[in-house]
């Protein structure tokens, strides 16, 4: 496997919880690769292990065995690699989109994007300019100073996408990004993700159990009982 070709490369990843009689295997020998500019789905029912796989790739959950490579950097090889700075990698390489948008309620739309940039050491002015550009490009220029509570579901999710894109990550991980949206808004979000994957050359891995949204994906991995079956 030429790991450097892929934005995400996962090889025989296993994640187990507990030990002895209480040991549960959440992911077993999962292998997948996602290229830059690809929009890929992890499809499966609730409890199938797709979110666990996403958290392992998202450097949140330590894999028990197997290898994870993000943008050519091996981050896990039978556990986290020694000396790896997970927070920094998350800041610089990854963008996250959540089911319930997870915008910070006490920050405006613009500040929600700015915070991701400021955490990554951008100056306030740079962060502000980039946040305004991003939100305007996502048709949210009129909502810059609105708090999340004043945004519609679709608008809030677009702000969340802007935040995920803020640091121009190589990999965007989305956990059920359309689950809280109606069909039209869901399709709009998927179209937007597809467009961004191509434009930004980002690999986008989407966890979903929503079969309505499968049309736009380049590839779909079916997850069942902790295994990638297709």
């Amino acid at each position: 496997m030429d790991k450097n070709r892929y934005a995400i490369a996962v090889e025989k990843l296993t994640k187990m919880y507990g030990n002895g009689e209480t040991e549960v295997t959440a992911i077993a020998d999962a292998t997948l690769q996602v290229q830059p500019g690809e929009l890929v789905a992890l499809l499966g029912p609730s409890g199938s292990g797709k979110t666990t796989l996403l958290t392992c790739i998202g450097l949140i959950n330590e894999p028990t065995r197997g290898k994870v490579v993000i943008d050519g950097i091996t981050v896990a090889d039978d556990g986290w690699k020694n000396g790896i700075d997970l927070k920094r990698l998350r800041r610089e390489k990854l963008g996250f989109i959540f089911q319930a948008h997870n915008l910070i309620p006490f920050l405006t739309a613009q500040e929600n994007v700015m915070i991701a940039l400021e955490i990554n050491h951008l100056s306030k002015n740079e962060a502000k300019n980039r946040a305004i550009d991003l939100l305007t490009s996502l048709n949210l220029g009129h909502r810059l100073n609105n708090f999340p509570s004043a945004l519609s579901g679709g608008e809030a999710q677009r702000v969340a996408i802007a935040r995920a894109l803020a640091n121009k990550p190589k990999v965007i991980l989305a956990d059920e990004p359309t689950a809280a949206l109606d069909t039209d808004n869901g399709k709009n979000v998927m179209a937007l993700l597809k467009k961004l994957a191509v434009e930004n050359r980002s690999a986008i891995l989407v966890v979903t159990h929503d079969h309505r949204m499968v049309e736009g994906f380049d590839r779909i991995f079916q997850v069942s009982d902790g295994r990638i079956v297709d």
Binding site: T55, I60, L94, F98, N102, F106, E111, F147
Partner: protein, 400 residues
């Protein structure tokens, strides 16, 4: 971007209400400190007004404030004769409670020699007492006007002057009359009492077989005048001549006059450490309890506020926020709450302290120390929230 301020801006109603509550609590803590300082100031106000170097009191007593002390008035001549003493005057003290305008009216009456020391230290309106009888100077806190009359003992007394803020150690405002008037008020019997006394003496004399009838008759008529001496005072205060040795003067009074000479410093100590020690401890303990309550409240507020932000904290961690961003948010919020609450408490006490029935003295050193303690409490209280926040897993941001 300051997340603490953004959060406060968004939840400003809740934050302001919490800060007001905490501010009221801190206001009470400040007033406790002010009351304590006021107790000391009150206790020492007569001391400071008299500007005495030595308080000569009854032997083996710690009078005239901490214990009772009675001594003959003419002791002043012996004290005046002590080398190094420039002036000595007797003083008489008594607490008086009369009814005025249908309400109890309580004050502390000082009798002093008009040409001696120990009288009112200042006259803010009217004049000093000039006549030996029936004139008085009152503290402003008594609420009397110049020219007003008050009945004390057997006579009416006219207010001729108002002095500044001077109170007794128990907080009662002070009034001054001449020593002779003070002794009259304290010891002079009214007509009924004199008649009763005569009857009692006559009954006792009738039992004495050894006295001739003429002697009995003489005694019956004059016994009251013989036994009723009003020339008793509570203390004689002395001022030393410049350069005189305090210890030497004290030693001479102690050795040759058989009275206890209490220096001004010793008297201050007796009043500040002795008389108000329990009140000080009580107030101190109360302050500590209130500060502990404040600490618990701040901890709870910060902890619940952190619990409210678990998803926010998890999201921040997920997008790679450093721990210092999260610690800073919680710590700054806690400190801001402390600063605002302190400001509210301070403002409250500043607006109300003159309306307290007893004197409140706000010392800047006390206020600075309290501010330091409040800041320390805020830092310590935020640890609970910070501990909780640092334990939050980024994965908690996922899911619905």
């Amino acid at each position: 971007m300051n997340l603490a301020i953004r959060d406060i801006r968004y939840h400003r109603g809740r934050f302001i209400l919490t800060s007001i509550g905490l501010g009221l609590l801190l206001g009470v803590v400040m007033s406790m400190g002010g009351i304590y300082r006021g107790l000391i100031a009150d206790a020492l106000s007569i001391l400071h007004a008299s500007k005495a170097d030595i308080w000569v009191v009854q032997q083996n007593s710690n009078g005239p404030f901490a214990e009772s002390s009675r001594m003959p008035e003419d002791i002043k001549y012996r004290i005046q004769a002590v080398p190094g003493v420039a002036a000595a005057s007797p003083l008489s003290f008594q607490t008086i409670q009369v009814e005025r305008q249908g309400k109890p009216f309580r004050f502390f009456l000082i009798g002093y020699e008009l040409r001696g020391i120990g009288g009112p230290s200042e006259i803010v309106s009217g004049r000093d007492i000039r006549q030996k009888h029936y004139e008085m100077v009152v503290a402003r806190a008594m609420g009397m006007q110049v020219g007003e009359k008050i009945h004390l003992g057997l006579h009416d007394y006219t207010v001729v002057g108002i002095t500044g803020k001077i109170v007794s150690s128990s907080g009662d405002p002070v009034a001054y009359v001449s020593l002779a008037d003070a002794q009259d008020i304290q010891f002079k019997k009214d007509n009924d009492a004199i008649r009763n006394e005569r009857a009692r003496v006559a009954a006792n004399l009738a039992d004495l077989q050894s006295l001739a009838p003429a002697q009995k008759n003489y005694l019956r008529q004059n016994i009251t005048a013989i036994t009723e001496s009003t020339h008793t005072v509570n203390t004689v205060i002395a001022r030393l001549a410049p350069g005189a040795d305090l210890r030497e003067a004290q030693e001479r009074i102690r050795r040759w006059n058989h009275f206890k000479p209490v220096s001004d410093a010793e008297q201050t100590n007796l009043l500040a450490k002795g008389m108000i020690e329990k009140a000080r401890m009580q107030l101190g303990l109360f302050r500590v309890i209130l500060l502990v309550i404040s600490a618990v409240i701040i901890s709870l507020i910060i902890y619940t506020s952190t619990l409210d932000k678990i998803k926010v904290i998890a999201t921040l961690k997920l997008i790679g926020a450093q721990n210092r961003v999260i610690i800073g948010m919680i710590l700054q919020q806690s400190l801001l709450m402390g600063i605002i609450a302190y400001g509210i408490g301070y403002g409250l006490i500043l607006l109300t302290y003159e309306k307290f029935p007893r004197r409140i003295v706000l010392e800047s050193s006390d206020l600075q120390m309290l501010f330091g303690i409040v800041m320390a409490i805020c830092v310590i209280s935020s640890f609970v929230g910070i501990r909780k926040a640092l334990g939050v897993e980024p994965a908690e941001a996922l899911g619905g």
